[in-house]
């Protein structure tokens, strides 16, 4: 008789999986449910990976990752953000930010330590914290336009609070923060001596103002694990390559876990990452311009069809409310898929706060996006009778 561990048995399956199964086997679906860029990895980056294979670089690298890559990253963080991380003991190359998040939590949490996680959030945060033995404290941001309210945050902080997880720009909401808002959060982090795990994988996709990495805020470098990678900026999701930057004590602890579970990040991907770090900037800029136009279109059309949606400030997601349609987000998504072959993800898949919303990814070509929005509008109009009936 096989018995699964209690921890794993208690994890909820991802709400996204179910929709994936539904979409499979359907024709002519336009999917707005994709959490990765629609661009191919820029060719010069793919070429660097191919070249490394041709040259026979298919061995392990050091646990921390190739020196060349850590050096390139250290220089990049310095020139881009004026952040100084020693490539020797303050940077760790990970297999995606997901690994970085996992080993950061495991490196820091003792059983019962509290982790504050603002929701809606990326699907992995809650289970990862749980698997690391943490006690999750949910900060539901729904009432504050999906932004962290610092009073609400302070109320959640207890003597056992150890970690605060940040993700900005956010998947799934597209929300991000300006300097002043971040300063307020940093003040609490300082006051209560918390450690922040800051997932800034969408940092390069901030549209209306600059992106401020959390460790650039006053004294925050010493209290932050900065997670970032190449998946979204250089469209390299399948290469599974990212990094963590943090003070030496934390990186050493994370590396201890990393060396036993991962040994090292994939070597081929590390070569690609060196190229991306050194020469990826132009491609990133071009993709950002394209996303921004799509964002504007999506925002405009969603509001026009009556799905309230604030202007997403970053990433490539919009998070409109479907409340006015009278549908629960799951019903909305199921019907939209069945009747008009457009796939979106119900907001409650991303934890508390998403109960009346859906996530729309605009990582889809402009013309396809228009078609999908037209179909959505038709759908909303067809069911407006439903609305009248259910809200009366």
């Amino acid at each position: 008789m096989i018995e699964i561990s209690d921890t794993v048995a208690s994890l909820k399956p991802s709400g996204i999986r179910e929709f994936f199964d539904l979409v499979m086997g359907m024709d002519d679906v336009i999917s707005l449910g994709v959490g990765e860029p629609d661009f191919a990895t820029p060719w010069h980056i793919r070429e660097a990976a191919i070249q490394s294979i041709e040259d026979g670089f298919t061995n392990y690298t050091s646990n921390k990752g190739m020196t060349e890559l850590r050096n390139a990253l250290s220089e990049h963080l310095d020139s881009e953000h004026n952040l100084n991380y020693d490539p020797e003991d303050e940077i760790l190359i990970t297999t995606g930010v997901s690994e970085g998040m996992d080993i950061a939590m495991r490196a820091l949490l003792n059983p019962g330590d509290e982790v504050i996680i603002p929701t809606p959030c990326y699907v992995s945060y809650l289970p990862t914290a749980k698997m690391a033995g943490g006690k999750v404290k949910i900060l539901n941001t729904a009432k504050n336009d999906f932004k962290i309210d610092h009073n609400q945050l302070e109320e959640l902080i207890s003597p056992r609070t150890k970690l605060l997880v940040l993700n900005y720009p956010s998947n799934p909401t597209g929300v991000t923060y300006g300097k002043q808002e971040l300063d307020k959060i940093a003040e609490l982090v300082r006051k209560h001596e918390l450690i922040v795990i800051s997932d800034e994988i969408y940092g390069h996709l901030t549209y209306n103002h600059e992106h401020y990495p959390f460790p650039t805020l006053e004294s925050m470098r010493e209290q932050t694990i900065f997670l970032n990678g190449y998946s979204k900026s250089c469209a390299m999701t399948g290469m599974r390559i990212a990094y963590a930057a943090a003070p030496p004590k934390i990186i050493a602890a994370m590396n201890k876990i990393h060396q036993y579970t991962m040994l090292c990040a994939p070597t081929t991907s590390q070569f690609a990452a060196v190229e991306a770090t050194r020469h990826g900037a132009d491609a990133i800029k071009e993709m950002k311009g394209e996303y921004e136009r799509r964002r504007n279109l999506v925002h405009n059309r969603l509001n026009e069809m009556g799905l309230d949606c604030p202007l997403p400030e970053g990433a490539f997601y919009a998070f409109p409310s479907v409340k006015k349609t009278g549908f629960e987000p799951e019903d909305f998504c199921r019907k939209l898929l069945a009747e008009h072959s457009v796939a979106a993800v119900p907001g409650d898949a991303f934890g508390p706060g998403g109960e009346t919303h859906i996530r729309i990814s605009y990582a889809t070509g402009f013309q396809k996006l228009r078609e999908a929005l037209s179909r959505m509008e038709e759908f909303v109009n067809e069911h407006s009778a439903h609305t009248a009936g259910s809200t009366g």
């Binding site: 994709v34 279109l297 059309r301």
Partner: protein, 161 residues
Amino acid sequence: MDKLLELLEENGRLPVKELAAALEMSEEEIREKIQDYEKNGVIKGYRAVINRRNLPEPPDSVTGLIEVDIAPQPDTGFDEIAREIYDHPEVKACYLCSGDYDLLVRIEAENLNEIAEFVSRELAPLKNVHKTESHFMLKTYKEAGVNFEAPSQDRRLSISP
């Protein structure tokens, strides 16, 4: 290039409303800009991209690409001779090129014979035309940026976190 032009080049029928939304401009501004482009000859027209093979009864039309080797003239260079050629309505496109020949001319006709006639009667006899070489197009994979074949597969998972 102006993003407005890029969007219109991809789809000339995008509604002003959507252009305004995507480019964060007012509809009035978009209308004015388009008018200016039309007036200044930047936007030369709006056409449908037609895949004739998809018609219920595809016509037997033939497209020829003719390379033309010509002797440039003292004052007008290639321009006058090119005009003599591209003024024929059968000529759908005409480019001056670097390389082994000077002009590349695209001709659309009902059948092979018509193209042969055009070349032998209208093109080759021109006094400054040295040589022509004709190619016949067998299949159009892509035209004006539009893929005529089945779209490439999106390799991404249709739903991902």
